[in-house]
Symmetry: C3
Subunit: 362 residues, 3 copies
Amino acid sequence: MRKEHPLSEIAWADLQQLSPNAKAPHLAAKDGRLFHVLLAQQFNREQLDAIGELATNIRFIAKNEGGLKFLQDLLAHKRAMLYFTQPSTRTFLSFCAACQILGVKVGEVRDTATSSEFKGESQEDSVRTFSSYFDFIIMRTEVGGLAERMAWVLSNSDRPIPIINAGSGKDQHPTQALLDIYTLQRSFEEKGGIDGKTIVFVGDLLRGRTVRSLASLLTNYRNVRQIFVGPEKLQIGRDVLDMLEAAGVKYELSEDFRKAVPLADAIYMTRVQDEWDVEKGESKRIDISKYCFGVKHLALLKPAAVIMHPFPRRGEISPEVDHDPRAVYWRQMRNGMWIRAALIAAIFRRDAAIQEYYEESV
Amino acid sequence: MRKEHPLSEIAWADLQQLSPNAKAPHLAAKDGRLFHVLLAQQFNREQLDAIGELATNIRFIAKNEGGLKFLQDLLAHKRAMLYFTQPSTRTFLSFCAACQILGVKVGEVRDTATSSEFKGESQEDSVRTFSSYFDFIIMRTEVGGLAERMAWVLSNSDRPIPIINAGSGKDQHPTQALLDIYTLQRSFEEKGGIDGKTIVFVGDLLRGRTVRSLASLLTNYRNVRQIFVGPEKLQIGRDVLDMLEAAGVKYELSEDFRKAVPLADAIYMTRVQDEWDVEKGESKRIDISKYCFGVKHLALLKPAAVIMHPFPRRGEISPEVDHDPRAVYWRQMRNGMWIRAALIAAIFRRDAAIQEYYEESV
Amino acid sequence: MRKEHPLSEIAWADLQQLSPNAKAPHLAAKDGRLFHVLLAQQFNREQLDAIGELATNIRFIAKNEGGLKFLQDLLAHKRAMLYFTQPSTRTFLSFCAACQILGVKVGEVRDTATSSEFKGESQEDSVRTFSSYFDFIIMRTEVGGLAERMAWVLSNSDRPIPIINAGSGKDQHPTQALLDIYTLQRSFEEKGGIDGKTIVFVGDLLRGRTVRSLASLLTNYRNVRQIFVGPEKLQIGRDVLDMLEAAGVKYELSEDFRKAVPLADAIYMTRVQDEWDVEKGESKRIDISKYCFGVKHLALLKPAAVIMHPFPRRGEISPEVDHDPRAVYWRQMRNGMWIRAALIAAIFRRDAAIQEYYEESV
């Protein structure tokens, strides 16, 4: 009786290779174009370039009222469900803004206390409910692999609609990885691109899903050197290193922040992810004071390098650093809005219309 | 000094007959057309048919971008207040989507912790506040009769605006009853309509307001047989049976689920409403495992019958049943969005414009 | 490295004179026109008149569908962030409605539990985050001076955007003061305006920020007599009286409510602000029953006087008084929506377009 939807033609096995958490997601529509956004690894270099270019076009068009109104009309007939059971301001608001830029109307469930779930409903039923009322779902959850599983559920339902993973569990936060790549693309636009650059990751590399995803996406570029700097207990996981080795990527591990700063073309600071502490207060016993970027480090940094941070920050970067032109983390944050708008536009096949408008405008 | 608004010409007494909870609501505008939506019983058969037809037209028009944009323009100048002090995902989101379909902008109060009510304001003042900023109010509350009372308050204020009852107390959830009727209308569209059909209600019939409201609405149809199946302690209330007897409707009570399944043209499953438990754990002592629809029941069911559920479900229907074409509960859920859009459109007199667009489109 | 934004040309010192809490806000854009809305005192009489007139024009235009659609198109390309960490229904909803009237899309953070702040982010970073995604910020907070500080932060960032203070701490709630002034303007429109009138403030004058702000704004008018009536422990603060004396304004203090009523051209009732109690139950020990307006006081009140209240009310005004035509507090509440729409329109320079449309319509 079960109808197999065309989307499920993409093999489960392919996806499982990409992510051990994936429970048979179907990432692309039948025509091979973007459908679900679930994993950073689903994007190859060509796709990363295309999404980045689309984001840049949207950003350009949005500079004036006429352009904004053109954009707002593109998907004015679409409705998005923002299903955020894991707290997040930044990701929520940037998706909200991205939807508004394209005219998409949003509904939201952020607080599980106001939801029906306490009445004992399964998550499958909740997500199918959203699919009854909305045209796509943007979801964020503490449960690893849930977005992938829900994509599978929907792809096999009567109403398959796209899912965008806005962070699930410890592993995947693909739109963050895409905005990071986009920030690197823009930063190195006139400096030969990402190829050949040295990226220094600093902080809690073990539990920061943004670092894990970005490290993986960077394997799409040639001769990128990745340096992981942090206290031993928070050093990057073995699985990431295995992945880098399999891809033939150069990497180094270090505990010496000061020594790493001058090597960086991009330095990617992160905070301690103590919300993932297994034992209470676990993170507090680790000294991370050596892994903070202060004014004194500016002199060590290459003149053309950039400083990034996925935010929120605590003390990892001193606010005084904000005024240095190499501090691109505020721009990086705003890039999140553009890249998310680009993804939504691509899912609903508005890339060509945007490209056309852009070319007429320049 | 008090100005009596035209709406109050409809007598309080009439309404009290319909609902013992009603405190003088005024359901219709002076021209006799729909104003407040408070009680399932306020709709007669002719009105049920008209609302159903309007929902079908909206559903048809919404199938393409042009139609969606036509709909979005209809009430783009209206603002709705979603006032949900009782938790609900489904009803909230479907109203939200219904508003968006018609272009209505929404404001919301869902969490009383973020509201002024802690400062000791009366509910009358809260509702009059909403009426200061919005064009209609959609409200859901645990307090029986509150929506009716607020409709009365507003009808006698300087700014009478419509109220839609999205569930109040144990008794009334009129838009759920309307979407259930609409689902039956659609299901039996080519099978002679609702007249003469057998509807089997299963589960917690005592406290499920959807069953109570639907049982009442079905009295508008000829020769409908109603069968109530559930454990003795959760059997339908005496007041509903009195109402059916007064209307001359055939009904049966049963504890035997298996025996009832083959009789059904529509089988309406419900969950245990333990949020209404007077004593903690009260519901857990009742065995409802016999009142669940599993794959094994599919063979017992008439080929042309339909399975319904107001959701959320727990174990009342096995997810494997979802793939049977007779399982219409997901369609039923989506019908909720269309029927709510139809109600809003009718309240603001957009039914003729929709009808006209529909006729030009087919 | 720090870029000084043109906005900061307005001297910090000027602002500090206006408000001891102000940390160098920059209220106006380089062209001298409205930018941030932070303090009631930033508006002079000419500006109060202009904002009031703009509100009246918007109110008039909004009377029909064509006008509403004109308004909705004015700022359809703008996005507002509603950042409300202090609970408030009324102010939130009226800003929400004001945005919708002008077509502005909104994002919101109301519940700090769903936000990133628990991850230890500074408020400066939060506000800069909002500025990354939105075009202006409407903020409400328990922290005095915070809106001013954030305006300063933004004015010195790469993305200076306007901040509207929707209530900060015990002191400032400028949009409430503006709607109060607007209500007085309308009430005395055909009675010679605000000049020469007697305003009687009643209740918790010590902690009600609306009274403090309104008392200050009224110094812009000639020969206004201010009478402060309340229990000794809740009498108006010395700083307000100093301000009135410096401005040469006549004032009186009284504990006798009954005696004050007949003197009023406008009587401004307030509730006890017990959320500011230092000691628990502190307010309950004060007898305020003498400071309530009941039906019996209507006979004492001048025929042309008006009764106001900033809401929420508890028992300060009996609901029976609502039906007296001198009870303008519901109109006052709705004025809040119009004045907020006027402020937003003014900030984004749509006043001329509104004026023009208005003149063509009358």
